[in-house]
């Protein structure tokens, strides 16, 4: 599956591991609750660790673990759920997370521009066509009003 990272289409190396599924080697993401329950086990994981945040998850809850994490995936249950936008902004501006912030789940290519502005830098979309569309929207605006955002 191809994704967009830092405005480039690349091959994705990450696997999103569901809570009931066994861990595998390599770059994986787990849910926040699994991370909290299996922190020690995951510390010995062969590969990079990412955490998936659902909209209701509290960003502050992982703020102390951010150094151990290479990727945070913000999971959209529906494109109308805007909490991930705030989560991204808090991760970047309040907790200084410098790793990859990725949008996954149900969202529109048309939301990618705003997601970039709140600090998301990689995008896993539903299809190749959506990925192309998302890439084409990344320069929709050359000006902005909110000085405190990207």
């Amino acid at each position: 599956m191809k994704i967009i990272k830092d405005k480039q289409i690349i091959e994705d190396s990450w696997q999103h591991i569901a809570d009931e599924t066994e861990l595998v080697d390599g770059d994986i993401t787990v849910s926040l609750s699994r991370w909290q329950q299996q922190t020690t086990e995951l510390a010995n994981h062969k590969g990079n660790i990412g955490i998936r945040l659902a909209p209701a998850d509290i960003v502050e809850d992982i703020s102390k673990d951010l150094e151990k994490i290479s990727l945070i995936a913000l999971e959209f249950p529906a494109f109308t759920d805007g909490r991930s936008f705030t989560q991204a902004r808090l991760l970047r501006s309040r907790y200084g997370f410098e790793g990859e912030v990725r949008a996954i789940g149900s969202y529109m290519p048309d939301q990618v521009f705003y997601l970039m502005r709140v600090g998301v830098n990689s995008f896993q979309l539903g299809s190749e066509k959506e990925t192309e569309t998302a890439l084409s929207t990344m320069n929709d605006f050359t000006v902005k009003y909110q000085a405190s955002t990207h």
Binding site: F79, T80, D81, G82, R83, F85, T86, R89, R94, M108, D110, Q111, F113, Y114, L115, R117, V118, K129, T133, T137, D140, F141, T142, V143, K144, Y145, Q146, S148, T149
Partner: protein
């Protein structure tokens, strides 16, 4: 008024291009119905009963003559030659073609207008007092702050997918003419004990299904913290507002369920984290204020004697002055209301020819500017008293001088079942009936200050719950019924109307309104206004007369 710089213009031009692309993808089938719905709504485009409806932003109600002419052009070229002024000081077109909307937006962009965030679950057009800058009770002109807020809201990347819509209003005067207590956030310019100006911040007010009066979350906010405080409130709402039920998703429900103390705690904690980085500097405020400097008033305007003479000679003119003009802070000037409530038109509707004519009158008499009011009229705010007689004659010839501002026939009315896909009941036809029943202007003036607000459904676009008389259309098994309330107000003493009794059939509504007015005339003491009588005697005498 605020004039766009290059960046402002670039932004709205780029928005037109973006929306054109989205429309093309939708028409080709590349963008799903639900996805396009969310995107078009954030550009003010609804799909209504008969056709799409496009809502164009009137930034805090202010319009230049050039913009008025463009609205006339849009009405003529893309619509059925009329437009509609809304309670958010915006402008609606009821009949555009979906495929034409990108072209309409391009035309609007050429005069610094857009439809960004006039709908959808996002930060909406900020509203204010239609007499801002000219009224006699002003503490400070609120418009520069409205413009600062406008820029902060436009394309705010974090807050485009809120639980529900979000509305902000600002008032800068003693008398609240912007219904700030009935907004998601209400800002009231106030002076503190040290004599400094700042904002009293209210949160969680709103109309619609569950009308609530806003609560004070911060009695005094320094101006430099305006944006950080707004950002803190909206962030708390974005994270904590309910998303499981759209009827419980407004911030008023969050405030109600969590309590104002908890809400305040959340907001203040968030604000502490961001306030240092987001200050609005004095220079920035001054830069925006420079766009709102007063026009060059004539110092001898008051010397004119024709104004008094014309009033003495023409009773009709004198009546119009009494009802359709307001005091102005500069001696010799008055603000004049252009009544969009003539007896035979839908409240708030204005034709292309009238818009062009109002533009000309604005150029000739009022420094080229006009304002939309939240009661769906237009104001020419800076008329020299010597010009009022001529202005009146011209407005009269255009059917724009019905002397009914603030009276029973100056109704707020939503488009209702005739246009709106959400409506359960007609509203325009009832407004017409009430108008016919109250066609005696002397009777209307005897009744005096009265606000009748009528909505065709629970969503309450016409603010019926704060009408002195509120009329709410409901559907019962396919039949239109109407629920009446009494005693609501959106002004300083904000109050929600009290329900009068069971809903009435459509053919009983006008009679009931007449009965209410008769009871008032019988009950009132001396010069007592309708609302005061209702407060004093309660709803019982009215109820007894109707049921």
């Amino acid at each position: 008024m605020y004039q766009y710089n290059d960046d402002d213009q670039t932004l709205i031009n780029e928005r037109v291009t973006q929306y054109r692309g989205q429309t093309e993808r939708y028409l080709k089938g590349d963008l799903g119905e639900d996805e396009f719905r969310a995107l078009r709504l954030m550009n003010g485009l609804y799909v209504q009963t008969h056709a799409p409806m496009l809502r164009v932003a009137g930034p805090y109600g202010l319009l230049s003559s050039k913009q008025l002419r463009m609205l006339a052009h849009v009405a003529r070229k893309y619509d059925k030659s009329y437009a509609h002024i809304t309670t958010r000081q915006n402008i609606q077109f009821n009949w555009p073609d979906l495929k034409d909307v990108p072209d309409i937006l391009a035309d609007l962009a050429s005069v610094q207008m857009h439809s960004i965030q006039t709908s959808g679950n996002c930060l909406r057009n900020t509203t204010t007092d239609h007499l801002a800058g000219v009224c006699t009770d002003e503490i400070e002109d609120p418009r520069p702050y409205c413009e600062i807020i406008r820029q902060w809201t436009i394309l705010h990347p974090e807050f485009a997918y809120l639980p529900r819509k979000f509305k902000i209003a600002v008032s800068g005067s003693e008398q609240d003419r912007a219904a700030t207590q009935l907004h998601d956030i209400g800002l009231h310019i106030v002076k503190n004990d040290q004599g400094e100006l700042g904002f009293r911040v209210l949160v969680g007010g709103g109309l619609g299904r569950t009308p609530v009066i806003g609560k004070v979350i911060r009695p005094f906010l320094e101006k430099k913290h305006l944006l950080s405080y707004l950002e803190a409130i909206v962030r708390v709402y974005n994270l904590n507002g309910r998303r499981d039920n759209k009827y419980k998703a407004r911030i008023k429900i969050l405030v109600k369920e969590s309590g104002i103390e908890q809400m305040t705690e959340w907001v203040e904690a968030e604000w502490q984290q961001i306030k240092e980085g987001m200050e609005v500097s004095d220079e920035r405020i001054a830069e925006i204020q420079a766009h709102f400097t007063p026009p060059t008033y004539e110092s001898d305007a008051e010397q004119d004697s024709s104004f008094a003479a014309n009033q003495a000679q023409s009773a009709a003119f004198s009546t119009w002055v009494k009802y359709n003009t307001a005091d102005h802070k500069i001696a010799g000037y008055r603000a004049a209301f252009v009544s969009l409530k003539a007896p035979d038109v839908a409240p708030g509707d204005v034709t292309d020819e009238q818009l062009d004519a109002i533009a000309n009158l604005a150029d000739q008499y009022s420094f080229g500017e006009a304002r939309n009011t939240h009661r769906q009229n237009i104001v020419l705010a800076d008329i020299k008293q010597a010009d009022l007689f001529e202005l009146w004659k011209k407005l009269d010839a255009l059917s724009l001088a019905t002397p009914n501002i603030g009276t029973a026939t100056d109704m707020i009315c939503c488009p209702g079942l005739d246009f709106c896909a959400l409506a359960n009941a007609g509203s325009i036809d009832i407004a017409k009936e009430i108008n016919d029943a109250l066609d005696n202007i002397d009777y209307l003036h005897d009744i005096g200050d009265l606000k009748i607000n009528m909505s065709g459904c629970m969503n309450g676009c016409a603010h019926q719950s704060v009408g002195h008389i509120g009329i709410l259309g409901v559907d019962k098994k396919g039949v239109e019924w109407y629920q009446l309330t009494l005693g609501g107000s959106s002004e300083n003493e904000a109050a929600l109307g009290e329900r009068l009794g069971p809903a009435l059939a459509k053919d009983q509504v006008t009679q009931a309104v007449s009965t209410i007015l008769d009871v008032y005339l019988k009950q009132r003491l001396d010069e007592e206004a309708f609302l005061d009588t209702v407060k004093r005697v309660g709803v019982t005498p009215f109820k007894e007369a109707i049921y």
